[in-house]
């Protein structure tokens, strides 16, 4: 019974069950999402620290005081203090409460703007988070939003005679269909041809972008009649999301839809059999297969749902944010911001809600910072990027360099100790009962 040939067979056949071995990238994604709120808050703090340093360096008074730092250090620190204070107070005044405004209405208008901004961000974050949960990565939010804009926009301009209310619902559902199809296409390519979902979604972003550019540049399709610019007609009133606090505030029903989407995703991931299957595939694809779950179908379904959520963000843009006619920039980078929001929110729907609100506030406060303190709005983008970097960097660095994961060893030890404890407990219990 000592022969070596059969072993050779076993070696090459170990992966027989699964055509594609679990990559280290997927492991890295899972780890990024396993950090919990602690890591998210830590990353936030670090990002703000680095952001503060950058604000200080871009401030002329601080730079000047720094040149004679050793002669009069107090000058430097007071300049630093006023730069920081100015920056962060304008960030808060721009995003939450403007205590310098003359009327109460204008005092609370920044908060309403924040809520308005966060609606599409939350939906986009949820869309990306759903794919993370299934061990997949949807980087095609832009394409899905653009396709949603095409569908929703076409229904909005093309069917102007529908009654108020019905028209809006038709446009939203149409937009969802567009994004869901575009997402499902990426899922289909991944499941049936083995194309990596990251590549497939990025490429589909371009396809959607050029399709929209064609539609915008071709008279008779989506271009505003009588215009030679690549822009659509305005969204008719009957297809616009109703504003919640009157015309002077941009906040519209889109935010309520986003809250509903959060509730839906929570239910999907925690209470539905579909979400159970998503998570099983995401955590252990092989075990999911053995448990009779059709992993290909799950990939397509996850991408369809993800695309639908991103489509909500796209529809909100067309039907709420930019109602005067849109261009190929209608996505506003939200498809990519959604990735950051999902990461910061730990892919948990409630976490995504808070992350979305934070990013909505950044967007609102950033303009105030630029207007009031001459701080470039790019600082906000830098802070956002730093958040991703700090959340993602350690596992990414390990994945890039094939390094083993130190926490795994510790976790295994902890788990073993725990198991030993449970075993001893159960044994003791048994003894008592016997």
């Amino acid at each position: 019974m000592s022969t070596n040939e059969p072993l050779a067979i076993s070696e090459s056949q170990q992966m027989n069950l699964d055509t594609e071995p679990e990559g280290r990238w997927k492991g890295a994604f899972r780890e990024m999402l396993a950090g919990g709120p602690g890591v998210a808050i830590g990353a936030l703090i670090l990002a703000f620290l680095v952001g503060s340093i950058m604000i200080a360096f871009t401030n002329a008074a601080v730079r000047e005081a720094a040149s004679y730092f050793f002669a009069r250090p107090q000058d430097f620190f007071s300049a630093l203090g006023s730069a920081m204070g100015g920056a962060y107070s304008s960030l808060i005044r721009g995003s939450i409460f403007n205590w310098e405004a003359p009327t109460f209405q204008r005092m609370i208008s920044p908060l309403l703007l924040t809520l308005h901004n966060s609606g599409p961000l939350i939906c986009a974050g949820l869309g990306v988070a759903v794919t993370f949960k299934a061990g997949l990565f949807n980087i095609g939010g832009r394409g899905q939003m653009l396709m949603a804009a095409v569908f929703a926009g076409w229904l909005a301009f093309g069917l102007p005679n529908l009654p108020v209310g019905i028209h809006l619902i038709v446009c939203i559902l149409g937009g969802i269909l567009g994004g869901a199809l575009w997402g499902a296409l990426a899922g289909f390519l991944n499941a049936k041809t083995g194309a990596h979902e990251v590549i497939a979604t990025i490429m589909l972003n371009y396809v959607a972008l050029y399709l929209l550019q064609y539609l915008l540049a071709t008279p008779g399709l989506m271009q505003n009649p009588g215009s030679s610019n690549p822009i659509t007609p305005a969204t008719p009133m009957s297809a616009q999301l109703p504003r919640l606090f009157g015309r002077q505030f941009p906040l519209n029903a889109g935010f309520l839809i986003a809250l509903l989407a959060v509730a839906f995703c929570w239910w999907l991931l925690n209470r539905s059999s579909l979400g159970f299957a998503f998570k099983a595939v995401g955590e252990n694809k092989r075990a999911a297969k053995v448990a009779g779950i059709n992993t290909d179908r799950m990939t397509i379904t996850v991408f369809a749902i993800s695309g639908a959520l991103l489509a909500l963000a796209g529809a909100m843009q067309v039907l709420g944010t930019v109602t005067t006619g849109f261009t190929d920039g209608i996505d506003g980078g939200i498809g990519f911001d959604g990735i950051t929001v999902a990461l910061l929110g730990g892919s948990q729907p409630v976490g995504v809600l808070f992350a979305g609100l934070l990013f909505g506030a950044f967007k609102a406060g950033g303009s105030m910072m630029q207007a009031g303190q001459m701080i470039p709005i790019e600082i906000v983008s830098v802070i956002q990027s730093l958040i991703v970097l700090f959340i993602a960097a350690p596992p990414l660095v390990r994945a890039i360099f094939h390094l083993p994961q130190p926490s795994q060893v510790a976790a295994a030890k902890k788990a073993a100790a725990k198991a030993a404890k449970a075993e001893a407990k159960a044994a003791a219990k048994k003894e008592v009962s016997a």
């Binding site: 019974m1 000592s2 022969t3 067979i9 059999s273 955590e283 075990a287 779950i293 030993a420 449970a422």
Partner: protein, 515 residues
């Protein structure tokens, strides 16, 4: 070097993992630490290796007390550890791994040549066959383990700790490891061998210390019988042989005809095999690992893509159905690799208990998980199958091997079954749980359904079998009764047909007959 542990106590919170343990390991000896999973063997060794700090007690090397702040200190003092999960960098070569953390340099350049020579020198001394330039991830598991051993020896380890080294090895690799350990002993190294496999212990141990629930319960001599050792380990008499009555055949049957399984790259993994398993009967499939048994079992659940032939269960053709449809036909399936294929580690016990039943009643109604029902079900099954866990919400990756396997068995056995297929049902499972699992497999058979068990442990295959099939290179060597002599079975596993094996000039020993 003589190793002495005096009164080692290690607590985790209120839980005492090691309770005042004394142990003496002499040079030139293999000292076995025997105990069930979770008995505290690994904790003790981690204290010795500096990974944990013991609350009480002392570690003495040649009578000198030691204080290890970390593995670095332990290594410097001459202690080497071969971990169960190898601590190797997969993309590095053997030589690079051996010098990692202990790099020889020439100026500022790494002296890889010296490392390569060191590997060759050690490999030569101990008769290992390891290519210093081979990349770790290309090597079989058994060879990777040898690299771990070389790593320890390269740092002049005098005391070697083997933590469950055979758990990941095939029977052949295990035999080779035993040979290596014997050589190390002859070189005068002190060896601590942690295991729960009785056969291995009796084969190599000079001294045996049995640990149960963190305490030393006694020493045993290598001449002790399996049942004596098992009783010390578990704390009660353990049934090592499978207790089963005469089979009562029913009219149910699994019929496999001309089954061929081909891999994606065109290799024939299961080569045209046919057999019948009647209801009320256990067919065990024996053979050296990797001879197509796992693929055959997978094919029975519809997991293999390239399958031709026919699989009929109670007259119904099953070939070509998806795993979901197969499960709905009432197939209970225990996969060979429970962590990869049987469980979702991050999911809770309760979630894993419904893993393959998330499609309909009673666990799902209208697409909604029935969580109260699931929790009730999980609590019942934990009790019924004696799964030792902190609760139904504990993730399964925190359970010991035996308890994790019980979760799978509980899941597969708590539905109406028409066929039960188990691959390596007791691999990496402690003695107490093995008995339990065997009992459940026999119960399934006695319920009147056909049962197929794949096992590379010959004892298990023989013990459970009503019929025994030996596979070799994807084909059937023979289907023989369970009381076929062991030597004949051994030769069949090497591909010699039973008629020839039976007349081959091998003396049928007492041992063979009684096994």
């Amino acid at each position: 070097m003589r190793l002495e542990l005096q009164g080692i106590t290690k607590r985790f919170g209120t839980f005492v993992a090691n309770d005042s343990i004394d142990l003496v390991v002499e040079p030139g000896q293999i000292h076995c630490l025997l105990g069930e999973n979770g008995a505290g063997k690994s904790t003790l060794m981690n204290c010795l290796y500096g990974l944990y700090q013991a609350e009480e007690g002392e570690i003495l090397l040649d009578g000198v007390p030691q204080h290890f702040a970390g593995p670095g200190d332990a290594m410097a003092a001459g202690i080497g550890m071969v971990h169960q999960h190898f601590m190797l960098v997969p993309v590095f070569t053997v030589a690079e791994n051996v010098m990692l953390g202990n790099e020889a340099t020439k100026g500022i350049a790494l002296d890889t040549k010296a490392a390569r020579e060191r590997v060759n020198e050690i490999a030569g001394n101990f008769n290992f066959h390891v290519d210093p330039d081979a990349v770790i991830e290309d090597l079989p598991v058994g060879v990777q383990q040898r690299v771990e051993i070389i790593k320890a020896l390269a740092r002049d380890a005098e005391i070697l700790i083997f933590d469950e080294p055979t758990a990941v090895l095939t029977p052949q690799e295990t035999d080779e490891l035993m040979g290596i350990m014997d050589q190390l002993r002859k070189e005068g190294k002190a060896i601590v061998f942690i295991t729960h496999k009785l056969r291995e212990v009796r084969e190599v141990a000079d001294k045996i210390t049995v640990i149960r629930r963190g305490k030393v319960v006694g020493e045993a001599s290598p001449t002790s019988t399996d049942s004596e050792l098992a009783e010390m380990m578990v704390g009660r008499a353990v049934q090592l042989t499978v207790d089963k009555g005469e089979p009562h055949y029913t009219s149910n049957a699994l019929e496999v005809k001309d089954l061929v399984v081909t891999s994606a790259d065109g290799q024939v993994l299961v080569d045209n095999i046919s057999f019948t398993v009647r209801g009320g009967e256990i067919m065990t499939i024996a053979g050296v690992d990797g001879n197509g048994q796992t693929e055959l079992a997978n094919a029975l659940l519809g997991l293999e893509p390239g399958v031709t032939g026919s699989i009929t269960l109670n007259g119904k053709e099953l070939l070509g159905k998806t795993p979901r449809q197969m499960l709905d036909e009432g197939i209970g399936f225990i996969p060979a690799d429970r962590n990869e294929d049987g469980l979702v580690g991050a999911f809770t016990v309760a979630e894993n208990l419904m893993l393959n039943r998330a499609t309909g009643a009673p666990f799902v109604k209208g697409g909604v998980l029935q969580i109260p029902f699931r929790n009730e079900f999980a609590r019942e099954k934990i009790e019924e199958f004696d799964v030792r866990t902190e609760g139904i919400d504990q993730p399964v990756n925190a359970l010991s091997g035996g308890n994790a396997q019980k979760v799978i068995i509980a899941r597969e056995m708590s539905k109406d079954l028409n066929l039960f297929v188990a691959s390596q049902p007791t691999r990496g499972v402690d003695v107490g749980s093995i008995e339990f699992i065997h009992k459940r497999v026999v119960e399934a058979r006695d319920s009147g359904i056909p049962v197929v068990v794949v096992s590379t442990e010959l004892d298990e295959a023989v013990g459970l079998a009503d019929q025994l099939m030996v596979m070799y290179r994807g084909g059937i060597v023979g289907i023989v009764p369970a009381d076929t002599p062991r030597d004949v079975l051994g030769m069949m596993m090497a591909g010699i047909p039973p008629e020839q094996a039976a007349i081959a000039p091998v003396p049928v020993t007492e041992e063979g007959a009684q096994a």
